[in-house]
């Protein structure tokens, strides 16, 4: 055993183990362990704080005369800032969030999964060695940058493409139809999708590589092509990990703030058309905290209610992911 430890570690051990007052050592140990325990408990305190603050302030919101829980849960209009006739129905914001998330999922999940399968099962080691760390670095790019990209590159590109491709429908010399509004959920959704791509790809790839070699060898042994092995054997075996990666990505998309607030606009309306702007729950909170509402007003507390709803949604997704991982994990050891 001792031979495993390097010489430096051995000197460290002997230095810390020099005989001293045993009682003092034991006391110090107790204190340190207590401190560590405190640090662990702190994370529980954060959760308690989240629950109490979010739901406490949300209760205060529902206690206000303008609001009722029922109209919040069923209302189709969200008009918090307009004078006397304020309406607090959560669905415009929720559908806006879901619209952006759906577009993001359409972009990120298939591309991410196929890239992961390629990297794990097909790609030469050299390609993998370049792409994998690059993806990890890209996962660390701040979301404001994606928002900037959406607003200055994706939106003009989308509008330009649609205008060019509809030019034949309009009289000669005129530009084509401009279907996409300047702020639209498609552009935001695509940017969120690109943002989630490294997450999906990296985690799915980890799950695929965790499938033991024996499975692949057996499948090759019965005459499977690489496609058969990758898609019909390895992917099903890693499914729990892949689904967990998907859920994590979706939950990140739901909670994404800066991209949607930059690119999807600030109009809270029932999101039915991906070419229109849609305000998401997070974008509404940004609007409130950028100074549209004063402290203590009903708008101010409405952001806590939205925050609580958002928290419940992402918590649900996280718990679902954990459950999928625990329930459907195929252990091969």
């Amino acid at each position: 055993m001792a031979s495993v430890a390097t010489p430096t570690s051995a000197t460290v051990v002997s230095a810390t183990l020099r005989p001293r007052n045993r009682r003092l050592i034991r006391l110090r140990d107790r204190c340190v362990v207590g401190g560590l325990f405190g640090a662990g408990i702190f994370s529980i305190l954060i959760t308690v704080a989240i629950v109490f603050i979010l739901f406490g302030e949300t209760l205060r919101f529902f206690g206000m005369p303008e609001v009722s829980l029922w109209s919040y849960l069923t209302g189709l209009e969200w008009k918090p800032l307009l004078g006397a006739d304020k309406k607090f129905g959560m669905w415009p914001l929720v559908t806006g969030t879901l619209m952006v998330t759906a577009i993001a999922a359409l972009v990120a999940l298939p591309i991410g999964l196929i890239t992961a399968i390629y990297l794990s099962e097909f790609a030469p080691a050299r390609v993998r060695a370049v792409i994998k760390p690059a993806l990890e670095i890209l996962a660390g790019i701040p979301t404001v940058v994606y928002g900037f990209f959406a607003l200055t590159t994706i939106t003009p590109a989308l509008r330009g493409i649609v205008e060019l491709s509809t030019r034949w429908m309009t009289p000669a010399g005129e530009p084509g139809y401009s279907v996409f509004e300047f702020f639209n959920s498609t552009s935001a959704g695509i940017a969120v999708g690109i943002m989630c791509l490294p997450t999906v790809c990296s985690l799915s790839e980890d799950a695929l590589r965790a499938v033991p070699k024996g499975l692949r060898e057996a499948a090759f042994g019965v005459g499977g092509t690489r496609f058969d092995v990758a898609v019909k054997v390895v992917t099903p075996a890693a499914l729990s990990g892949i689904v967990a990666a998907f859920l994590l990505a979706i939950s990140r998309a739901v909670g994404e703030t800066m991209i949607v607030s930059l690119a999807a606009g600030g109009m809270a309306r029932l999101a039915t058309d991906p070419a229109e702007g849609a305000q998401t729950m997070t974008a509404y909170m940004v609007q409130i905290f950028l100074g549209d509402a004063e402290f203590g007003s009903v708008e101010y507390y409405s952001s806590y209610a939205i925050g609580a709803t958002l928290f419940l949604m992402t918590l649900g997704l996280t718990l679902l992911g954990n459950w999928v991982l625990a329930r459907y994990r195929e252990a091969y050891e």
Binding site: A2, T16, F42, P198, M258, F295, F311
Partner: protein, 676 residues
């Protein structure tokens, strides 16, 4: 699996191979698509940023609003800009002109013509455009123009052979185009500082200027020093709080895992699942928590809506500062101004101090209201002195007939309207709501005024939400109106909703430590560096815990057993054996968590990172700007020039991130030794 083994009908090998090849192609295409998407993102953003960051230098250029001519001088050392500047002058008359007298301009002579035909020379002046008697007939007010020559020096090292002068009528820009295709702006409308774009020759001075000047409302002057330093401050606070807590929690979870079932076992399991769930909470939710816990502290130490008396400090050098006195020493006053931040004043430099009106104490006075040529409202009254208000700041104005330009004498009531607003009420000319923090101090730069979104209720009942772009001769442009990008209205059709800004900054309810030191703390913390850093700590704590756990798990058990076998206590085992071996992994994880923290904008926005500030944080209680938040605000501005500035900011942010990531990779490569 079933299709392979059972094979209801065996698929021929050729077809399987074809499928295989097809899938490989699809996978290759999709992979290159995702790599392409990400590289397009990086390249466009970095390219735009680099163009702005390195392609410009800052210089003061002359105002070319009244440009007459622009020429290169013979030696090619400078550009001569000749402008015709409008001037006004009052020619005093020796005695009051008779009733009904008129003014006539004859060549260079300005003559007062009495009704009976007698002429009196008031003075001489060439290029007079208009002349009229003042209402009291004691003087003649003349407007004339004067030729002014500006000489703009050119860098001597550039080749001027074949250089030409270009003028752009729309922006009033005058530029020199060199033979190598690069251009340099030598004049523009409005004058002042400009980033003079020199395309084609990257220069480091422009980048240095960007990093050392404060943010500004003029895209050409905007710099990045306050956000950069603000980010560094909050990052240090965040690291100092998150690292000990996160590493401690991870050690508890990994190294002190209870063996037996019991209460500690349960605590352990709860903490473990809890950390996993916390990692999935959206960062803006942490912002809400930070706001309630750190900035407002549950309202325990006083309501966030209380204001200390707001005072007007007149300095002996003629400047005026509006603010609150937060502390005094023997010879130094500490003021807190919403615009200038913390200001220290020598007692000797302080002239008169007058209390500004606070709530419920309106000041009634007689004065004048005027909207001058620079779109500044000027309110003058003996009791108030002169208040200059940027027209951006006016949230509600119902000025009666005559348009906003004419100065008029009015009875004023000046009071605090609550929600951080002043109300200037004039019985005959309507009412104005003015955001208090946007009232111009005479010392403040016009550049620091933020544009904010407001609700505009139209005369015809429509409601628009948007940003005020400009107020022009009674016309108002609003961006982000329903269905349109920019809409222009006549100001008479618009009633602005008075909209207050939430003010979480509190006035020192509970003070710990010396006010002057960098480390003093007051509760509640308000929108301070400390509150921002602690909020980011909440965001990255789960990430640090998880990364540290992984690093600890990678240390082989044999090392632990060895230490225990030699008689180490559990803590001695961790401190002497496990931790030293896990340090590279922990450091890598911590650096990656920090790089996440530096890019987070949402929680900082919620706890109230300041958007446009000209001062740098100098203590834990300072307000601050942060890089991602500043980039967000710039991207959100209607002026496309700001997008370029935002791109420069992104370039700086990504460079910092790259440094972080590179050091993480370096640590992983160099320090990590195989342990098994």
């Amino acid at each position: 699996m079933t299709s392979l083994l059972e094979g209801r009908q065996a698929i021929p090998a050729s077809r399987r191979n074809r499928t295989n090849r097809r899938f490989l192609w699809v996978a290759l295409c999709v992979t290159s698509l995702s790599v392409l998407a990400l590289s397009v993102l990086l390249v466009t953003v970095l390219f735009q940023g680099a163009k702005h960051l390195f392609g410009a230098e800052v210089a003061v250029v002359p105002d070319t609003t009244h440009l007459v001519s622009a020429e290169l001088d013979e030696r090619g050392q400078s550009v001569q800009l000749v402008t015709r500047e409008p001037r006004t002058q009052h020619l005093e008359l020796l005695e009051r002109a008779p009733e009904g007298a008129t003014v006539r301009v004859d060549g260079a002579d300005v003559l007062v013509v009495a009704p009976d035909g007698a002429e009196l020379r008031a003075g001489t002046r060439t290029d007079v455009t208009s002349a009229a008697l003042t209402p009291n007939r004691h003087a003649v007010r003349i407007e004339y123009s004067e030729l002014v020559t500006h000489e703009v020096g050119l860098p001597s090292e550039r080749s001027l052979d074949g250089a030409s002068i270009e003028t752009d009528a729309q922006t009033g820009r005058v530029a020199v185009r060199y033979t190598n295709g690069s251009t340099q702006i030598v004049g523009q409308r409005g004058g002042t500082l400009a980033r003079t774009h020199v395309v084609g020759s990257p220069n480091l001075k422009a980048a240095k200027d960007f990093l050392t000047t404060p943010p500004s409302m003029t895209p050409t002057n905007a710099g990045f020093n306050a956000p950069l330093l603000g980010s560094i401050w909050i990052l240090v606070v965040c690291a100092l709080s998150a690292l000990p807590l996160g590493i401690g929690a991870a050690i508890m979870l990994e190294e002190f895992r209870p063996r037996r079932r019991g209460p500690t076992h349960w605590v352990h399991r709860i903490v473990q699942t809890n950390v996993r769930n916390l990692a999935g909470v959206p960062s803006i939710v942490y912002g809400l928590i930070g706001l309630t816990v750190f900035c407002r502290m549950f309202g325990l130490f006083g309501s966030a809506l209380q204001y200390a008396p707001y005072q007007r400090f007149e300095l002996t050098d003629g400047r005026t500062i509006l603010g609150q006195l937060v502390a005094t020493e023997e010879e130094v006053y500490h003021l807190d101004s919403e615009l200038l931040g913390h200001v220290k004043l020598e007692r000797s430099s302080l002239g008169e101090v007058t209390q500004w009106p606070i709530k419920d104490e309106p000041i009634e006075c007689h004065g004048t209201v005027e909207l001058n040529d620079e779109y500044l409202f000027v309110v003058r009254a003996p009791e108030l002195g002169e208040i200059t208000i940027d027209s951006w700041a006016i949230e509600h104005a119902e000025l009666a007939d005559g348009g906003p330009f004419s100065p008029r004498e009015v009875d004023l009531t000046f009071s605090m309207g609550g929600q951080g607003r002043y109300v200037i009420e004039t019985p005959d000319a309507g009412r104005m709501y003015v955001a208090r923090d946007l009232v111009r101090d005479t010392v403040r730069d016009i550049d620091t005024v933020p544009i904010r979104e407001h609700i505009y209720r139209m005369g015809d009942g429509r409601v628009l939400r948007g940003e005020l772009m400009k107020l022009n001769d009674g016309e108002l442009s609003i961006r982000r109106a329903i269905g349109e990008d920019v809409t222009t209205f006549n100001i008479k059709d618009v009633a602005l909703r008075p909209d207050g800004k939430p003010d979480y900054r509190n006035r020192t309810m509970l003070m710990l430590g010396d006010e002057d030191s960098s480390f003093h703390v007051h509760f509640p913390m308000g929108a301070s560096v400390l509150a921002g850093g602690l909020t980011l700590m909440l965001v990255i704590l789960p990430i640090i815990i998880i990364a540290t756990q992984e690093a600890l798990r990678a240390v082989p058990d044999s090392l632990r057993s060895g230490a225990l076998a030699l008689g180490a206590t559990p803590w001695q085992m961790v401190w002497g054996m496990t931790l030293p071996n896990a340090v590279p992994g922990i450091m890598t994880g911590a650096i990656l968590a920090m790089s996440r923290a530096i890019g987070e904008a949402a929680p900082i926005l919620v706890v109230g990172g300041t958007i446009f500030i000209t001062f740098l944080p100098d203590n834990l209680m300072s307000g601050f700007a942060a890089m991602p938040l500043q980039i967000y605000m710039w991207t959100n501005q209607p002026d496309p020039e700001f997008k370029k500035v935002a791109a420069s900011g992104i370039l700086v942010l990504l460079t910092v991130l790259l440094l972080f990531n590179a050091s993480a990779v370096f640590i992983r490569q160099k320090l990590q030794r195989p342990l098994t």
